[in-house]
Symmetry: C2
Subunit: 204 residues, 2 copies
Amino acid sequence: MSKPVSDIVIGRLPIYLRALTRLLEEGQTITASKDLAERLGISSAQIRKDLSHFGEFGKQGMGYDIAYLRDQLKSILQVDRLWDMVLVGAGDLGHAIVHYGGFEGRGFRVACVCDNNPQKIGRRLGHLEIYDTAHLAEIVRQREIKIAIVAVPADAAQIVVDQLVEGGAKAILNYAPITVTVPSGVRVQYFDPSIHLQRMTYYL
Amino acid sequence: MSKPVSDIVIGRLPIYLRALTRLLEEGQTITASKDLAERLGISSAQIRKDLSHFGEFGKQGMGYDIAYLRDQLKSILQVDRLWDMVLVGAGDLGHAIVHYGGFEGRGFRVACVCDNNPQKIGRRLGHLEIYDTAHLAEIVRQREIKIAIVAVPADAAQIVVDQLVEGGAKAILNYAPITVTVPSGVRVQYFDPSIHLQRMTYYL
């Protein structure tokens, strides 16, 4: 790992991890890069090359031990632990995110919720109390939270992101349909359903 | 276009389209594959190769005309029109999707909503009436809807998907954290926030 691995390679690792987890759930224990390739629509050469950045995971002609490779990927991606996240925005989307069942076992949990609506502050969302967004930077700092989900209207997103950065957040998943600016060292991923839809319209 | 273009290439086109749209909004009119590459973390050779499947879009040393390339990509992806979508699930997530501002100008609109909750059927979600999911296949067939968004609990997702397929839907964006089975000729994309989060934890 002398040369840094590109973002695009890192971006594929979670896809491999999800596929391996599914294979295990289906009862498989060994897989070949060829099978993974077919499942994912990524060439087997690409998969082998991506994984080779991190070590030797399979023996020639023997395939990969799925559980072992899954554990290695979890460790590489640092999701072999549980990350506390702050959710900003307790609207419809915030509710859906708190009740979303897809974080479990993936390395994440919503640990705290903020909103700027006085009607919501102090009330509960699921088992979490809703805090005032005015204290967002302070909450993030005190709890040493590194990951945030932004689920506020587009015109509030940049302000919220600035507060998150001030508090020390390093990874932001932005659901607002707007591009935000962050200093280097902070990463933003955009949730964008149109991208997923446009991947299918080509075939219609 | 004698050889079919791979899913993975098609999957990158919406990313290019989004980047080009942003560049235009920022006032740029010409871009080089090198600039796009830096913005997207994809190599410029890859970008040129991806685009070359569909024709000649730039002149050597001249860069790409952004508006022209954007229009071509819209046409290739078939989002130079407006696709009516059916949304299944009028819960928190369904509300968030109906009020989401990120479909506009991207080729999509929620044209109709279904739910199986008698308390919700007949009421309104935004400007749309909520229909009974029992009639889902019929609604999809009658309105000739090709694209669906599934925003129901995990244990209801497969049933809903089966009804959508029966009605003739060909492209499904599944928000439920569960893998669904569809016949060949029908495409499913998964909305999976954990994948986005795992792309950032590597760097923490």
